[in-house]
Symmetry: C2
Subunit: 245 residues, 2 copies
DNA sequence: CTAACTTCACAGATCATACTTTTGAACCCC
DNA sequence: GGGGTTCAAAAGTATGATCTGTGAAGTTAG
């Protein structure tokens, strides 16, 4: 009955990777700056092994590099592997959230219409009809104003389109899409009641995929992306204002 | 003068990561199979530290997972981070090269036209004119039949379009594109003298970007992608034949 | 015989320490 | 001042010791 009384029994490695990665993304450890391993041991209160294993992981993400006799150097952001889910999460939890959200949205605009088009060719019948079902529920949630449910269904919908494309590279972007959808909802960029057209577009995508019409699927998904970009453009502009040089 | 006479002074960590990653990608360690750390120590002839640090890296790529009392388990390919440059390289060095090449090409088809469109809006003048220069050299190399030079210029061209898009996510895909271009050349999928139209399309992309015409840039790049996909389709078909179930 | 509970040993996780290797930088000599 | 030598700092590698979950075998109760 006593599996844990107080000690959270946290995973030291995972925790350390997370703290380090976040510190780097947040700029608490500036690009180019150098730290020694024993500093990090002390800073995080863990042993050398844990620090080293964490550093190896960060290094494989291109975030740090270590050289003998020198120490561990933080690498510039241009070297980071931005497609690593952890890196995405850290960056969304740092300043530059907005720029990140914009980049990710532009990527979605490129990828999702193409994924929809492929899905129209390759999606198994079961997936296609599940998509139809989801788009129906999505409509319902949109009309009733249940934003929480809407978000969950929206994520599920896009995830299914991506995986139905039959392309592993597209399918892998589901976590990225989930982050964007969650992010924009969290930033209050979604109206309480999504516009009727937006809801209709999801139905259109599902329907086009079901009847195997690549071209329509592509067009409908592109319309969704374009609308989403427009809705978020207010955010870009605000940001551009703030950092107007 | 004597920085190294014989000892390659290889990096044990990098070597071990590479050997392990390749072994997993090649299926030498089947998905779901389990190994103990001390087995790997012996197999690779390195110490626990090295094996553990390597495993942490592989784990962060989703390729393995380790559990107490059990060992290290190879995770299914669906969990791997396919956008990690190392994973891409390992997979291209394994069976499934062709499927990989196809996935990557589909991704290119989605991304590059969009990148070209953005570049038309955002590319600095210098980059645009450099693109024009590259497309000119590309034409020349194509006409003269210098496939090696052509490949290098082609990579440079597409890399510059991606980076000129001003989107960090697109820019990061340059290594991926380089792999595809190199791969298809290596597989003899490129004619000695690229078709005149293909060369012209590159000029069209550069020209559209220079005059800021997003729509034309998108269309021209899409045409390049479509043509490339067609040229490679023979490869897909061969493969489909071989593994016809 | 099944189900729940206990025990126990295994293998990873963490820590500590010793030793090796690279290499930046100080030092020295001409 | 240029070039070579020495030195020590810090990462890399190896290994033993200990801690901690946890699967499985063994045990008991129903």
């Amino acid at each position: 009955m006593s599996q844990s009384h107080l000690a959270p029994a946290v995973d030291l490695h995972a925790t350390t990777v997370d703290r380090l990665g976040l510190a780097v993304c947040r700029g608490e450890m500036a690009s180019g700056s150098i730290v020694r391993i024993d500093e990090l041991e002390e800073r995080f209160g863990v042993s050398r092994s844990v620090v080293r294993e964490a550093l190896r992981v960060l290094a494989s993400m291109g975030m740090v590099a270590s050289r003998r006799r020198v120490g561990v150097q933080v690498r510039p952001a241009t070297e980071w592997n931005l497609y690593d889910p952890q890196v995405i999460r850290w960056r969304l939890a740092s300043h530059g959230r907005v720029a990140q959200l914009r980049s990710l949205s532009e990527l979605r605009t490129a990828v999702e219409p193409q994924a929809a088009a492929l899905a129209a060719t390759r999606a198994p019948l079961a997936s296609a009809s599940e998509l139809m079902g989801l788009s129906g529920k999505l409509w319902e949630a949109g009309r009733s104003g249940d934003t929480d449910l809407f978000l969950r269904l929206d994520i599920q919908f896009h995830r299914l389109v991506l995986s139905s494309s039959g392309n592993e590279m597209f399918g892998m972007l589901d976590s990225l899409v989930a982050e964007v959808l969650t992010g924009r909802t969290h930033y209050g960029l979604m109206p309480q009641h999504p516009h009727e057209e937006a809801l209709q577009m999801h139905v259109d995508v599902a329907s086009a995929i079901q009847r195997g019409d690549s071209s329509d699927a592509h067009a409908a998904m592109l319309a969704i992306m374009t609308r989403a970009m427009t809705e978020m453009s207010t955010l870009w502009n605000e940001e551009a204002h703030k950092s107007a040089s």
